[in-house]
Amino acid sequence: MDATRTAAIVLRHFYLLRGSVTRVVPLFVWVAIDIVLWGFITRYLNAVAKSSLDFVPMLLGAVLLWDFCSRVMHGVTTAFLEDVWSRNFLNLFATPLSLAEYLGGLVVSSIVTSALGLLVMLLLATGIFGLSFFVYGLLIIPFLLVLFLFGVALGILGSGMVLRLGPAAEWFVWPIPALVSPFVGVFYPLSTLPPWMQHLATLLPPSYVFEGMRRILAGGAAPPGMLALGAALSAAYVALACWFFARVHRHVVRTGLLARYSAESVS
């Protein structure tokens, strides 16, 4: 693996971001709107609820963590889609660039863009609504790690789908986080779900993060084994997503889809 070639992919994304307000603004505007919206909802719930529950870390914290995961996924897919939109596949895949280097470049680009989104969310959530990450203790690190890895896996999976199905398939990709969120218990305990959804939730790493978060806020502790399982599952999904992307790439090179990509001829 050649780090210079990975750096070239990151540099390409940096150039695009630097020269484009329309690319930079969405990195933090949607998550900022989410935080503001949920910030006021949690304030309202704190005011009307007669319980001792603090909704700020429970709901606002959950929104922040889930938005981080979504931003990571969108960071990977957006960096990939830049090559779709600019019809750059022939130029790119005719270079010595390997798939590992290419995907590495997409992930590093996503780290930068999602970190910016996370920073803005933290500033708003702590500055305006008094959310403190200290309530989660050091476990915030594995929480973020699990969500980051899962976001990367979803991003690579989404990119593979677009590579396989053609440019218009990007509309399948954007809603993936919304599709996953009911199963991972972002806002409610998994016990709320029907059994079949609970079974599915055990296969989704973010479930372990949000269950762990609620346990901490209820005064308990997140079992380390649970988070380790979440991290292991996330890492496995990243490997699986890379395998899927490589398989799709092999398919589009074999069938000729890559050479006539804009024709969107699924075969």
Binding site: A8, R87, N88, N91, T95, P96, S98, A259
Partner: protein, 247 residues
């Protein structure tokens, strides 16, 4: 003459359709080889396979000795291409595109190399202009500058002068000829301009219906087949490939 590109038994099928059928040829260092044929003859399919963006159904492609199927990165580091259907991203400037592709091809002393190519292709004034707003001729020159970034052993040019005015086209032909004359790299050139092919190519391959029908010196080949010019021969290949294939 050292072989920089070797194609053996190359075949490509799309379902029942055979786009390229068992073709074999080589390009030597310092040589400019024309790949000619009517639309749909298999030229772009052949180039796509050499570039590794289309897998052959059968056959082998070696670039400077490296098999593209098993040593993809090594093989592609020694090649480059320019084609009208593969413009560089229009949302990046000329110099940004050259920098990114320079890094991808592992070009040494990249800033100096970019400066030299910008000067060579008369692009200095456009270095900070986004490629998407350049004229088609300017975009072609940027594409050629990108194609020469890594001093490739195999340079693939798919109709490189199609959108250029005659003066610029002649200038570009001279530059590519000069590149080949340096003796390090060979050029595979497709064009429908037979005047250009006669002036530039050392050897031509006539492709029709996925097969190589004729091969030879573009200056002597027409007479061998009873035609006055290369253009007449081209038309004959396009209309009556079977009669020529048997001669």
């Amino acid at each position: 003459m050292k072989t920089v590109l070797s194609v053996v038994g190359l075949r490509r099928e799309y379902g029942e359709t055979v786009a390229v059928e068992n073709i074999a040829f080589r390009v030597g260092a310092g040589e400019v080889v024309g790949l000619l044929g009517p639309n749909g003859a298999g030229k772009t399919t052949t180039i796509s396979m050499i570039l590794g963006v289309l897998a052959p159904s059968a056959g082998t492609i070696r670039i400077d000795g490296a098999d593209i199927a098993t040593e993809r990165s090594r093989a592609l580091a020694r090649t480059n291409f320019a084609a009208v259907y593969a413009p560089l991203p229009g949302n990046l400037t000329v110099v940004q595109n050259l920098r990114i592709f320079g890094l991808l091809y592992g070009v040494q002393a990249l800033p100096q190399r970019i400066d030299a190519l910008l000067t060579q292709f008369d692009l200095q004034a456009l270095r900070d202009v986004r490629c998407g707003v350049l004229s088609s001729g300017e975009q072609t020159r940027v594409g050629l500058a990108k194609a020469l970034l890594n001093g490739p052993q195999v340079l693939l040019l798919d109709e490189p002068t199609a959108s250029l005015d005659p003066a610029t086209a002649r200038d570009i032909r001279m530059k590519i000829r000069a590149y080949a004359a340096e003796g390090e790299g060979g050029v595979l050139w497709t064009s429908h301009n037979m005047y250009e092919i006669e002036g530039v190519c050392d050897r031509v391959l006539f492709l029709s219906r996925g097969r190589i029908l004729l091969e030879g010196d573009p200056k002597t080949l027409p007479r061998k087949h009873g035609k006055a010019t290369l253009e007449e021969l081209f038309i004959a290949v396009a209309r009556e490939p079977l009669t020529l294939g048997g001669s």
